[in-house]
C-alpha cells in the first residue's frame, strides 16, 4: 500500500497541459491566458503552503494547533457564506450567521465522526481531524451559503405574501414557513444529487485519492460512504442553523417582517 511518490518531473509534465490551455487562449483570443497563469500559480502556492503547514501540524500532534487550524478554516468558510448573498443583514448579521452555522455543523459532525465512525487514536489526531474538517467544510459551506442566499433573496420577493399572512394574524413562524421550506430544499438538493451521482457519474475525491494512494477500492468505498453520510448530516445541520438564525434576525418581538434590517451588497 505504498503510494507512488511524484517527482518534480511528473509535476512539470502535468503542467504542460495548463500551458496547452494558455496556448488555446492565445490562439482563439479567449483572453484567459493571463488569468489561467495566475490561477495556476495561486493553486500551486496555496497547496504547497497547506502541505507545509499540515506537515508542521502533524509533527506537533497537539490538539491545540489542530483546533487552531480548523478554526481558521471555519472562519474563512464562514466569510464565504456571508459574502455570497446579494442581500446583507445589518450589523454584520451575514458574518455572524455564516460563522455560527459553519462552526456548529463542522465541529459537531467532525467530533461525531472521529469518536464513532472513524475513531483514530487519539480521536483528535490531526492526520484525520484536519482533512476530515476540510472535506466537511466544502459541503457545509455550500449548503449554508445556498440556504442564506435563498432566505435573504426570497424574503424580499415574498414580502407581500409573508406580510399578507401577518396582517391576518398569522404568527411570524407560520408566515415564513414556505420561505424556510424552500431555502432548506435548495440547500439540501446538491447533497441529494451528489449521493445519487456518487460512483456512477463522478468518482468522489476521497475515494479517488485513496485508490491512487494504493488502498483497496472496497475499503475506499466504505470510507466514502461514511463520509457521504457525514456530509449530508453536516450540510443539513448548517442549513437549519442558517435558516433559523436568519429568520430570527428578520423579525422582532412584535413578529413583524423587518426588511429594514436588510440592505443590498455595497450599500
Amino acid at each position: 500500500m505504498t503510494p507512488i511518490l511524484l517527482t518534480p518531473f511528473d509535476i512539470a509534465a502535468s503542467a504542460v497541459l495548463l500551458v496547452f490551455d494558455g496556448v488555446l487562449s492565445l490562439a482563439l483570443r479567449l483572453d484567459l491566458h493571463w488569468r489561467l497563469a495566475i490561477a495556476g500559480a495561486r493553486m500551486v502556492v496555496q497547496l504547497v503552503l497547506v502541505g507545509f503547514i499540515l506537515r508542521v501540524v502533524f509533527a506537533l500532534g497537539s490538539p491545540v494547533t489542530t483546533l487552531a487550524v480548523i478554526l481558521v478554516m471555519i472562519a474563512i468558510a464562514g466569510r464565504e457564506v456571508a459574502a455570497r448573498p446579494e442581500q446583507r443583514l445589518r450589523r454584520f448579521g451575514n458574518y455572524a450567521i455564516g460563522a455560527t452555522s459553519v462552526a456548529v455543523a463542522t465541529l459537531l459532525t467532525a467530533v461525531i465522526a472521529l469518536t464513532t465512525a472513524i475513531r483514530p487514536h487519539p480521536w483528535y489526531d490531526a492526520h484525520y481531524a484536519v482533512p476530515l474538517a476540510g472535506i466537511m467544510l466544502g459541503n457545509i459551506l455550500n449548503a449554508a451559503s445556498l440556504a442564506l442566499d435563498s432566505m435573504l433573496g426570497c424574503v424580499v420577493q415574498e414580502k407581500a405574501a409573508i406580510e399578507a399572512q401577518l396582517m391576518l394574524g398569522a404568527s411570524f413562524r407560520h408566515a415564513v414557513h414556505g420561505l424556510i421550506r424552500t431555502s432548506l430544499r435548495r440547500a439540501l438538493l446538491p447533497i441529494v444529487n451528489q449521493m445519487s451521482a456518487a460512483g456512477i457519474i463522478t468518482l468522489p475525491g476521497i475515494m479517488t485519492g485513496q485508490i491512487l494512494a494504493g488502498m483497496d477500492p472496497l475499503e475506499a468505498a466504505k470510507y466514502q460512504v461514511v463520509l457521504m453520510f457525514l456530509l449530508s448530516g453536516g450540510g443539513g445541520l448548517a442549513a437549519v442553523v442558517v435558516v433559523y438564525l436568519a429568520a430570527v434576525r428578520l423579525t422582532d418581538d412584535r413578529q413583524r417582517l423587518r426588511l429594514d434590517r436588510l440592505h443590498a451588497k455595497g450599500t
Partner: protein
C-alpha cells in the same frame, strides 16, 4: 349609514403620539361604528400610517383598542382585531381557497356572491384572478376575521362603479354592526358617501382639511 359627526360614540381606538422613523406623530380617537376617510397626496404617508396602527412597522407611541394598550396584546391577536388591507393584496398559495380558513368557506362563498364574484373562483388558482377580483377577495379575507377595526387602503381602487357600490354597501353593514373603519381613498365622492369624518395626511402628519 350617514354618520353624523359629533355624535358621541363609545371609544374603540385611541392613537397617541404614534410615529415611526418615516411618519408621525399621529393622534386620533375613533369610536365604534365610525368611518374615517383619510386622503392625501401619493407618498404623504397614508399607507405607513395604517401599517403603524396594524403594528407592521416599528415605531413609538401607543394605540389602545377598547382601552387596552397594544403592548398588552400579542401581535398576532392584535392584527386579527385591527386588520390592514393594503392596496396591493399579497397571496401566499397557488390556490385561492387556501387563503381562507376552511371553517369560513361557507361565509366566504356567501360574501363573494354579495360582491358579484363568481364563487367558483375560489376553486381556481390565484394567477387567474383579475386585479378587481383580488381586491374583493382580499377584503373578504379580512372580513372573515370579523375584526373590531378595519384599515382599508384604497379598497375600491381596482373596481368599477357597480362593484364599488356593492363593496360600499357591505362596508355599511359592518359599520352598522359597530366595526370602526379607517379608509384611505383618492375619491372625494367616496369619502363623502362613506365617512363621517375626513382627515388628511400632509407632510407625514394628520391634519383636518
Amino acid at each position: 349609514m350617514t354618520a353624523a359627526a359629533g355624535t358621541p360614540r363609545p371609544e374603540r381606538l385611541r392613537i397617541s403620539a404614534l410615529s415611526s422613523a418615516l411618519v408621525g406623530p399621529f393622534d386620533l380617537v375613533a369610536g365604534r361604528g365610525e368611518c374615517i376617510a383619510i386622503t392625501g397626496a401619493s407618498g404623504s404617508g397614508k399607507s405607513l400610517f395604517l401599517r403603524l396602527i396594524a403594528d407592521l412597522d416599528p415605531g413609538t407611541g401607543e394605540v389602545f383598542l377598547e382601552g387596552t394598550p397594544r403592548r398588552h396584546i400579542p401581535a398576532p391577536a392584535w392584527r386579527r382585531q385591527v386588520v390592514y388591507c393594503p392596496a396591493e393584496s399579497g397571496w401566499w398559495d397557488e390556490r385561492v381557497a387556501h387563503h381562507f380558513p376552511s371553517a369560513a368557506l361557507g361565509f366566504v362563498r356567501a360574501q363573494a356572491e354579495r360582491l358579484a364574484l363568481d364563487p367558483t373562483l375560489l376553486d381556481g388558482p390565484v394567477l387567474r384572478l383579475s386585479s378587481g377580483e383580488r381586491q374583493r377577495l382580499a377584503l373578504i379575507r379580512a372580513l372573515a376575521l370579523d375584526p373590531l377595526v378595519l384599515l382599508l387602503d384604497e379598497p375600491t381602487g381596482a373596481l368599477d362603479a357597480d362593484s364599488t357600490a356593492l363593496v360600499e354597501a357591505e362596508l355599511q353593514v359592518r359599520l352598522q354592526a359597530g366595526t370602526l373603519i379607517l379608509m384611505v381613498t383618492h375619491s372625494e365622492a367616496q369619502a363623502q358617501r362613506m365617512a363621517g369624518r375626513h382627515l388628511r395626511v400632509a407632510q407625514r402628519r394628520l391634519v383636518t382639511p
